[in-house]
């Protein structure tokens, strides 16, 4: 079954890498939308429903933490599963992400296969 994804990262390179990686997995995305930061992503979500979100943490304008908070407060967006893709390595912060309802955490740099089982699980929930 195809799905739609939203990739939020301020780095064009990382958006390209994530997009290419998703297209290499067992489950192919029907469409991938992109946001440079949390604010852009929230505006995009108002227009385009998505099945899963991949989000960086460290971004200008609205970072990943700000986006998570706003998303969780929004009645239409709060149930969209989110996978954080970041360089964060502090255990307390990673645990905090799961307290915020994040479904998965992938540390950069990653290989496409690192996303595969995580994505399957998230989409089947």
């Amino acid at each position: 079954m195809e799905y739609t994804a939203l990739v939020i990262d301020d780095s064009e390179i990382m958006r390209l890498i994530l997009s290419r990686s998703l297209k290499m997995l067992h489950r192919k995305p029907a469409r991938i939308f992109f946001g440079n930061n949390g604010e852009e992503a929230l505006n995009l979500l108002k227009q385009e429903p998505v099945d899963v979100i991949f989000c960086d943490l460290n971004m200008p304008v609205m970072d990943g933490w700000g986006f998570l908070k706003k998303k969780n407060e929004h009645p239409l967006f709060k149930d969209i599963p989110i996978i954080v893709v970041s360089t964060e390595g502090a255990e307390t912060r990673i645990n905090e992400l799961f307290d915020f309802g994040v479904k998965g955490f992938v540390r950069k740099p990653f290989h496409p296969e690192d996303l595969d089982s995580l994505l399957q699980t998230v989409l089947e929930e």
């Binding site: 390179i13 460290n58 390595g89 502090a90 950069k108």
Partner: protein
């Protein structure tokens, strides 16, 4: 300091290999170390937390092109992408450097990587010249 350099080189090598499937080596001669301030690509990533400091990369355009080629099988279409690819690797390197040296129980805030406007003087002990396949670049770490 030798232990520090060895550990730091391991972080450089591991992050480049996992980021771009490229291999690094330490050249026998460090031709770029005395002229790193003249290299066209100069990006930095600042961090604050248990320690405050900056990680930096200095590279010729050919190195950015090689890194881009490793990832995307093509050359970058713009100068912006040349900087962006080194910024992204530097962001990854800095995150892993902090975990490796300060542990997973230390919290840091990293600024998004950006182009350097003025190059600070970096102690020679904390400057590395490495080769990414056959292309050189200089990595510097500067504690505030």
């Amino acid at each position: 300091m030798e232990d520090w350099r060895e550990k730091c080189y391991q972080v450089i090598s591991k992050t480049i290999e996992n980021f771009a499937f490229s291999f690094t080596s330490i050249p026998e001669e460090n031709a770029l170390l005395t002229q790193y301030t003249n290299l066209p690509i100069q990006v930095c990533c600042k961090y604050k937390g248990t320690k405050t400091g900056t990680c930096m990369v200095f590279a010729p355009t050919e190195t950015a092109d090689a890194l881009f080629m490793s990832l995307f099988d093509t050359t970058p279409e713009s100068e912006h992408l040349r900087h962006d690819i080194l910024c992204e690797w530097l962001n990854i390197f800095t995150g892993h450097y902090l975990t490796e040296f300060f542990g997973t129980d230390s919290e840091f805030t990293m600024e998004g990587p950006f182009k350097l406007e003025a190059v600070p003087l970096i102690s020679g002990e904390k400057l590395f010249e490495i080769h990414l396949d056959d292309f050189p670049m200089v990595v510097g770490v500067c504690d505030d």
